[in-house]
């Protein structure tokens, strides 16, 4: 049963990644694209955790934690760049 559920949830997250990609391509403004990227990294964390569960190993946890931290920092850095035209003043 769990295998079927994994497949369904993989499909759900893959579909949402595709929707995010659509928003990333269509835009229309730069903050829209950053928002799409921000959502994409969060969905990637879910995908990695799910892959780790379906493989039965907890080793992917560290990768997910690193993606969470780097994704947050990069979102804030790009927004800061948009706001000021500079990252560190």
């Amino acid at each position: 049963m769990l295998e079927t559920v994994f497949l369904i949830v993989f499909a759900m997250i893959g579909l949402s990644l595709l929707l995010n990609l659509w928003r990333l391509v269509v835009g229309p403004s730069v903050p829209d694209r950053i928002l799409a990227l921000d959502t994409m990294y969060i969905n990637t964390i879910a995908l990695i955790i799910l892959y780790g569960m379906s493989m039965g190993t907890g080793l992917y946890f560290e990768a997910a934690l690193l993606i969470a931290m780097l994704g947050f920092v990069s979102t804030v850095a790009v927004c800061k760049y948009l706001l000021r035209g500079d990252i560190i003043e």
């Binding site: 769990l2 903050p31 969060i42 955790i49 780790g52 569960m53 946890f61 934690l65 979102t75």
Partner: protein, 110 residues
């Protein structure tokens, strides 16, 4: 056996919320409304998936596994902050809000 059911239900709820967040990202007409989907629905969906992972690994290995809570807490703390940065840059770029948005004169230029 019960834990398998619990993991399945939590995973399905989490996946559904993640999907709803992305649907909101596609469907909404302006940036400020799009922001609501990813900051709320996706965060709750992640919490669902991560708690499911917690139950799954506690059951698969001996001893409980709680480290997935760390990512959940991290995402709960950072989601409002990235949302705040995004909406600030959107106001700075003077993005158009949907026609009929009330209280547009509350927004000051910076």
């Amino acid at each position: 056996m019960y834990s398998e059911w619990l993991v399945s239900i939590l995973l399905l709820i989490g996946g559904a919320f993640i999907l709803i967040g992305s649907i909101g990202l596609i469907k909404m007409p302006d940036f400020f409304m799009r922001l609501h989907g990813p900051t709320k629905a996706t965060t709750l969906g992640m919490a669902g998936v991560l708690i499911a992972a917690m139950v799954f690994f506690s059951n698969a290995q001996d001893g409980i596994s709680v480290k997935e809570l760390l990512i959940t807490i991290f995402l709960l703390i950072t989601a409002p902050i990235s949302g705040y940065m995004l909406i600030k840059s959107a106001i700075h770029h003077k993005l158009k809000a949907k026609d009929g948005t009330k209280g547009l004169d509350n927004v000051e230029d910076d």
